[in-house]
């Protein structure tokens, strides 16, 4: 093999080595760029999904928004009308002498509803005049049960009632009721003591009529 050939082959080998190094570098760069492109694509996809969701929400909100708002406005208008109506009733009731504690009960029992126009105190005069006879407890502060009246009420009536303590009926055929806890005890000497009897005659009469009198020696 001639030297020229060897030199030529060595030169080729050097070129090939150089080309290999260049290709290796190029491949490395291409891989890095491919990875970067892949990451970028994933981020873009995620952003796209978020934006799609946001777009859908906004689109839905845009589509349904006006009806909800109208409903909400109507509800608030109703609440304001009810409040004004109740305030008007309270003003008229206060002027008519209704007890503050019976105010809510009487309003609930009235069954009156707000109208189109704002309520005026004179709108309630007829009802309050009638109530003065039909529901006198509301004007004295007395609870309906204490005045011996039942509260008819409307279905929505939720007045707070102060109920009187219930009294068990006398036991029929089972002996006299036990009054021992409320017995009125007197000594025989008290009964013939004028000064004592002048103060307690009515108590003795009441207790004996109710079977609560106990005469001790």
């Amino acid at each position: 093999v001639s030297d020229a050939l060897i030199t030529s082959l060595q030169a080729n080998i050097a070129d090939l080595t150089t080309s290999k190094a260049k290709l290796h570098a190029a491949l490395k760069q291409a891989r890095a760029e491919a990875k970067e492109a892949k990451d970028s694509a994933a981020a873009a996809a995620a952003q796209l999904a978020a934006m799609s969701s946001e777009r859908d929400t906004l689109a839905a909100r845009a589509a349904s928004g006006p009806e909800d708002l109208l409903k909400q406005v109507a509800e608030l208008k109703g609440q304001i009308a009810a409040r004004d109506h109740r305030d008007g009733f309270k003003a008229a009731a206060m002027a008519a002498g209704v007890s503050p504690t019976a105010m809510d009960d009487l309003y609930a029992l009235s069954g009156l509803k707000p109208g189109d126009d704002p309520a005026k105190p004179e709108d309630f005069v007829a009802y309050l005049t009638e109530a003065k006879t039909a529901r006198p407890w509301a004007f004295t502060g007395e609870s309906p049960s204490a005045s011996g009246q039942t509260q008819a009420g409307t279905a929505g009536s939720q007045g707070t009632l102060a109920l009187a303590a219930t009294q068990p009926p006398p036991g029929a055929g089972r002996g006299a009721p036990d009054h021992s806890s409320t017995a009125f005890k007197v000594r025989k000497s008290d009964l013939s003591n004028g000064a004592w009897m002048s103060q307690h005659q009515a108590d003795v009469a009441r207790a004996s009529a109710e079977g609560r009198l106990v005469i001790a020696d």
Binding site: S192, S198, Q201, A202, A205
Partner: protein, 306 residues
């Protein structure tokens, strides 16, 4: 099961106290119109003389000391000695327990009528004191109307009392008591019953309830027991409570079962129960021991119709 004495007494007590608390049938005006002194601590024998203190307003009790010491006097409220000369009793016999099985029966059939009768008799005793002799400080005012008084008649009596310093402004103590005839005529007399004269309320009360409203600061009543001062003329008296005083005490009793009830404030009535062998039944007795007399004749002025 037979009742025992405790049960009987409890029923009697219940009926008596209830009856005493519900005396309403007769007004007994004089009992309400006089001064009563109930001496609760006293148990006096029949005929005892009891001193009754009469509240007296006397300017002589006030001294202008000019910066000096007090000038104390003994408590010298004027007092009147009243004899405990009345011992009114009423009683009934329970032969069978069936008669007193219920309190209501005993109360309505026995106690209430007897207590009413007792009060009526006491009222008569007080009314008998109202005579021209006992009230001679002023001459009897003779009215001009036949069986009816005129306003001027009452005005004359009022002037008598006010002129002598009687506290005529005290409405609870002043009474005008007359006979049912004169009272009834006043109810339909224009001077006492017409709306244009006495106002609508007084006119309504006169016509609808036979009640005369206060006259010259006194409560007007009628009383059947008031006797005429002169024949054919209806009587009347304008009086302050202090004109007549009565005294009451707790009656003496040795009974085991007894109680004191008050058909009127200050008027004690002893109710006692015991078995009487002689009478063969349970004896229920009621006693009121009292006395009264005119103590201040200047506190009453008599009037009569023509």
């Amino acid at each position: 099961m037979a009742n025992d004495i405790d049960g009987l007494f409890a029923t009697v007590l219940s009926a008596a106290t209830s009856a005493a608390s519900e005396i309403t049938q007769y007004k007994n005006a004089f009992i309400d119109a006089i001064y009563w002194d109930y001496q609760a601590e006293l148990q006096a024998a029949q005929g005892a003389a009891i001193d009754v203190i009469l509240p007296t307003v006397d300017e002589g009790d006030v001294v202008d000391s000019q910066g000096g010491a007090y000038t104390p006097t003994d408590t010298k409220h004027s007092k009147a000695t009243i004899t405990l000369d009345r011992d009114f009793t009423t009683s009934f016999l329970i032969r069978s327990f069936d008669q007193v099985r219920t309190r209501i029966e005993l109360q309505t059939k026995f106690f209430k009528p007897r207590l009413e009768a007792l009060l009526r008799k006491m009222n008569r005793g007080v009314a008998e004191l109202v005579t021209a002799t006992n009230f001679s400080t002023y001459s009897v005012i003779s009215g001009s109307g036949a069986d009816v008084f005129a306003r001027a008649d009452l005005g004359g009596a009022w002037k008598n009392l006010a002129g002598r310093g009687v506290p005529v402004e005290s409405e609870m103590d002043m009474s005008f008591i007359t006979s049912p005839v004169a009272y009834g005529n006043m109810l339909s007399d224009s001077n006492f019953a017409d709306e244009s004269v006495v106002g609508v309320n007084a006119s309504q009360a006169a016509f609808q309830q036979a009640k005369l409203m206060n006259l010259l600061g006194a409560r007007p009543y009628y009383d059947q027991h008031l006797a005429r001062f002169n024949s054919g003329k209806e009587p009347g008296i304008l009086m302050h409570r202090g004109a007549i005083a009565g005294v009451t005490v707790n009656p003496l009793s040795g009974a085991d079962y007894k109680a004191i009830v008050f058909p009127k404030p200050g008027l004690p009535v002893l109710v006692e129960v015991g078995y009487s062998i002689k009478d063969r039944g349970w004896l229920v007795g009621m006693t009121a021991q009292w006395g009264c007399r005119v103590v201040r004749p200047e506190f009453g002025s008599l009037v009569e119709t023509a």
